[in-house]
């Protein structure tokens, strides 16, 4: 049995003589440089980061396990980022709570003509010397530079 397999090995070793053209290695390097340059322009950043992560974990364990651990690392990073976002939520909630709390009705007249629709209560407007309420009513006739017509 061992002899049989030895013969198979000898036959297979003949495949070493299947060789690419003699200048293959040099032309391969040139092609590699060309492809690399064009690929760098197209490669998304996440792909490069993913490859580096897989290489880092894949080196310390079998490749499949490396992919798994790299995926877990990405998920963990995503989880931490989500927690950070959630941790900053209370400020937003407080603002929302303040906005939702019923304000004392101070206005005597309401502009809301349709009682079925509730208009949002707006915070009292700050009146400062430099800030004036915009006026949309025309105070005076606009200046006209056209010659007055006379009949």
């Amino acid at each position: 049995m061992q002899d049989d397999y030895e013969d198979i090995s000898k036959l297979l070793r003949l495949k070493r003589f299947e060789q690419p053209p003699p200048d293959y290695v040099e032309s391969f390097l040139e092609e590699f440089r060309d492809r690399q340059r064009s690929q760098l322009l197209r490669e998304p950043a996440w792909r490069i980061a993913w490859d580096r992560l897989c290489a880092f974990f894949g080196e310390q364990m079998p490749a499949r396990l490396g992919y798994g651990v790299a995926s877990l690392a990405v998920l963990a990073a995503g989880g931490v980022a989500s927690l950070n976002i959630l941790a900053s939520r209370p400020v937003v909630d407080q603002i929302a709570a303040v906005q939702e709390a019923p304000h004392p009705v101070t206005q005597t007249a309401s502009l809301n003509l349709n009682p079925a629709v509730e208009l949002p209560e707006l915070p009292p407007m700050a009146h400062t010397a430099s800030f004036s309420i915009p006026r949309y009513v025309m105070d005076a006739r606009p200046v006209s530079y056209e010659p007055q017509s006379s009949f």
Binding site: Q19, F32, D51, E59
Partner: protein
């Protein structure tokens, strides 16, 4: 001074590449192209596929070399990338492919094993080289990608079991059992060329 020489000769080239020296990576490409080409070509039996895959292998290695910490040798690391990418490629390709074989180096006529085989085995003596090459490649393509990888590395490239186990990330026992199974399958396909 010899004591301080690096055990792994690629360490310096890898470190220079990690610092952004693209010429150092070119040297690594020159150094490993021939060997890795043999690995990928013998698994795919197609020159164009082997060339494209090898381009992708080196591109991937270049992209991820900053994550390489030297826990394994660069040799093992790059072989591991090449084998995994080729296995994935073969699984996607399935059975739809045409063989595109490289020419057989005429130095084969001077090879000790070839002389032995042609002297002792009449089928090998009678078959022309092209026919033998075709039959060998057809037989290899009948193996699963994982078995083909082990046969390529052990029988064709002459790697030891321990190195193959590191590259594939499996135990040496698994390498041996895959080899045993693959040889048994090849034996049936190459029966006519074996020594009588």
């Amino acid at each position: 001074m010899a004591d301080t020489a690096p055990v792994n000769p690629d360490i310096d080239l890898v470190a220079r590449t990690q610092r952004g020296d693209a010429r150092a990576f070119d040297e690594l490409v020159m150094k490993y192209t021939s060997r890795l080409y043999g690995l990928v070509y013998n698994m795919t039996a197609n020159h164009e596929d082997a060339n494209d895959l090898l381009q992708e292998v080196f591109a991937k290695a270049f992209r991820s070399i900053s994550g390489f910490r030297g826990k394994s040798s660069f040799y093992t690391w790059i072989h591991s990338i090449a084998v995994n990418m080729t296995i994935n490629f073969l699984k996607k390709r399935g059975r739809r492919f045409n063989m595109s074989l490289d020419d057989v180096d005429l130095n084969i006529q001077n090879d000790k094993e070839f002389i032995e085989l042609t002297a002792s085995s009449s089928p090998v003596r009678e078959a022309d080289l092209g026919e033998l090459q075709l039959k060998l490649n057809e037989s290899m393509q009948k193996l699963s990608p994982e078995h083909r990888a082990v046969v390529t590395m052990f029988d064709i490239q002459g790697m030891p079991h321990a190195e193959i186990s590191k590259i594939l990330g499996v135990s040496e026992g698994t390498v041996r059992s895959r080899l045993f199974y693959a040889h048994r399958q090849l034996q049936a396909h190459l029966e006519e060329f074996r020594k009588k």
